[in-house]
Symmetry: C2
Subunit: 260 residues, 2 copies
């Protein structure tokens, strides 16, 4: 039986702070056993879009990925962020290997159908999106795959894809082959009972408890899609889902989500 | 005994022409057996540097890679060019996987020592630069590695590296494990006896014949470092070095370099 795989997802704020990112990289390199990292983009991509004269395209409040935007975010995520993470992990002693979804056909997406809104070059993930054979080949060779949030459609088109969605899809797909833990890392210590109190971490949260909290409006709006996604991964066979501080992944403080 | 590996190197003009690049990708996907691609940058990287307000830094006519330039060329080569090639090859049926030298520690370089000129973040390749185990793992899994010209030093620093040098180093390193052919692809049909006549391709060129042509000043200046590099690879154990048109790799017209 293969060892438990730990999948970490980082995004947002930490990617914008080089000092914090270095600390995360050092902590990740210390985690024993097979690991995989999925990263989103940070504010840097938005800055680059502005520098290159692209106006953020918003329709009904949703960001649209036109061809020029896709080009720029691909450069930023797959070029800059991904390679800096990989070089940093290599220096810290972890044999990282960066991937977009196109590489080795790691993640094959489908362009989001045009409905009321045309999101542009945005990819959604079908049930068979993840190339588990490729990821297992790399993991068994002792490599640490580092996936950015760019996928492809298999017909030559790259697609911008949500990093939380990729992390969950990879976790669920690999859970058919071995035990998988999915760690969503962010700037807080976990799910907080009181959003203003970092010491109020809920150590264990069941699906039923979460449903109650959500119904009572006690979950921060930004956390709802993340937690919905996380509980869905748990239901789909992922062994453990953890919400934790990106800088404290090797410490006991964290929220562990439980089916029941 | 493993099958003969064909390593292709493209750069310059072809990377700037989407239609030509698509044709090359389609031809490469048709080549049977194990393949590996090394690509340089095109003029697009220079355009991006200008768009982002970077002045080309030149000292004694040589380009200097400062930190801002490295950031931008890494985005362009490892992000844009590499991912477009990989997505295109995937669409054409070749299971391509893009790599910088940092990925899986594929190519570990050494920053060029500061002498009369400080070239900045430029990498030279020591004798043991190439991670042949990683490349063999990928090749044996049926993957087509696509290497961009960004390497790392193993201490977290990415480095800009000459793509011809990478192609030769990879060919020489893998030649210790299996038969390797090295194909330098460009916009001409091969080494030409008359630079103005595309039909004057020299089909076969020995090291002695090349030395004579070079002494007579009959080799275009831009070709001298490329051919020196190519003959050195041949001397170091590469089975065949071929100079050919990137759009005609599956046609017989080409120059084959021979040890004697």
């Amino acid at each position: 039986m293969a060892e438990t795989l730990k999948i970490f997802k980082i995004g947002g704020a930490i990617l914008d702070e080089p000092a914090q990112l270095s600390r995360f990289v050092a902590e990740l390199a210390k985690v024993p056993g097979p690991r995989l990292l999925v990263h989103g983009g940070g504010r840097g991509a938005s800055q680059l879009l502005t520098q290159l004269g692209q106006q953020p395209q918003l329709v009904q409040g949703r960001r649209i990925t036109d061809a020029a935007t896709l080009d720029i975010v691909t450069m930023f995520y797959a070029g800059k962020t991904n390679k800096q993470l990989v070089a940093g992990l290599q220096a810290a002693g972890a044999n990282a290997l960066g991937l977009s979804g196109a590489d080795g056909n790691a993640i094959r997406a489908v362009r989001r159908p045009v409905g009321a809104i045309d999101y542009g070059f945005v990819g959604d993930l079908p049930a068979d999106a993840v190339n588990t054979s490729l990821l297992e080949l790399l993991l068994r060779a002792g490599l640490l795959p580092v996936l950015c949030a760019i996928t492809h459609d298999g017909h030559g088109q790259l697609l911008n894809t949500n990093a939380d969605t990729i992390a969950s899809a990879v976790a669920v797909a690999l859970a058919a082959r071995r035990a998988v833990e999915l760690h969503f890392c962010f700037e807080k210590n976990g799910v907080l009972a009181d959003i203003n109190d970092e010491s109020s971490v809920i150590e264990r949260l069941t699906a039923a408890e979460y449903a109650q909290l959500k119904a009572a409006g006690a979950v921060a709006a930004g956390m709802v899609p993340k937690l919905d996604n996380a509980f869905a991964a748990l239901e789909a066979g992922v062994e453990r889902v953890v919400i934790e501080n990106a800088l404290r992944i090797n410490e006991p403080v964290k929220t562990v989500l439980c089916r029941s």
